[in-house]
């Protein structure tokens, strides 16, 4: 299989998307930790913005997953 073939490009796209999901997930983990820490300290203000941001991060992860799924199917189907 040549380096520039469709499955190879598909794999690169999938790898990139997974790496991006991983980065977003790390941000989300940090967000949850910081929010929990604030909550346990009795500060309830950050809970709402943190939940909204976490929702946005999850939506981005899910969109990337859909992208992975689409690219994967397209690569399998072939030209």
């Amino acid at each position: 299989m040549t380096p520039g073939s469709a499955p190879s490009r598909g794999r690169s796209a999938i790898d990139g998307a997974i790496a991006l999901i991983a980065v977003l997930l790390i941000v989300q983990m940090w967000l949850l930790t910081a929010t929990l820490e604030a909550f346990l300290a009795g500060h309830h203000g950050p809970a709402l913005p943190a939940a909204l941001l976490s929702t946005a991060l999850f939506a981005a992860c899910f969109a990337l997953y859909l992208f992975i799924d689409r690219v994967d199917r397209a690569s399998r189907r072939g030209p």
Binding site: M1, P7, R11, I14, D15, A17, I18, I21, A22, L24, L25, Q28, M29, L31, L32, T35, L36, E37, F39, L40, A41, G42, H43, H44, G45, A47, L48, A50, A51, S54, T55, L57, F58, C61, F62, L64, Y65, I68, D69, D72, S75, R76
Partner: protein, 162 residues
């Protein structure tokens, strides 16, 4: 080759599926993080002020200046420390370190509260963190003097005013 026909496993396709499954795992983890944040939000919105009954914890003459007494408030599993820091000054804090809930003890000079597990230090005056890994001040027990008795009336975790 014969074995390739018999075992028609395509490594590239296998890798595809694995990556897709890994992506799915990451997204499900992300969903778990979101659930955690939503849980915190719900707890924050529906919080109710905890009504704890006042409790007599000591008589004013029980402790000498610099003395310490252990009591439990608000529940039987909530050890606290009452300290007499001056002739007419008393302070009380939860004895659980805010790092990993080890028991804190007064230092030899009586000016700090020490957590021996990870060397966290708190100020006796207000319970603030002086040093070490504890992320928050010690919860302060609100004291009230009723005659010659000291009563614990509330637990102040340093929450924002709302």
């Amino acid at each position: 080759m014969l074995w390739r026909e018999e075992f028609s496993v395509h490594a590239a396709e296998e890798r595809y599926v694995t990556r897709r499954q890994f992506g799915k795992f990451l997204v499900l983890t992300s969903l778990g993080m979101l659930a955690g944040n939503v849980w915190i939000l719900v707890r924050s919105l529906w919080r109710r002020p905890q009504a704890v009954a006042p409790q007599a914890i000591a008589r004013t003459g029980d402790l000498a200046v610099g003395g310490v007494k252990v009591f439990r408030y608000p529940g039987a599993n909530d050890p606290c420390l009452l300290m007499r820091t001056a002739e007419d000054a008393y302070v009380a804090y939860s004895q659980k370190c805010t790092h990993l809930s080890c028991a804190v003890y007064p230092s030899d000079d009586g000016k700090r509260l020490e957590c021996p597990c990870h060397e966290g230090y708190f100020a006796v005056e207000d319970g603030r963190v002086l040093q070490g890994p504890p992320p928050r001040p010690l919860p302060r027990i609100v004291l009230e003097r009723r005659g010659d008795e000291l009563w614990a009336t509330a637990v102040d975790v340093g929450a924002e005013k709302s």
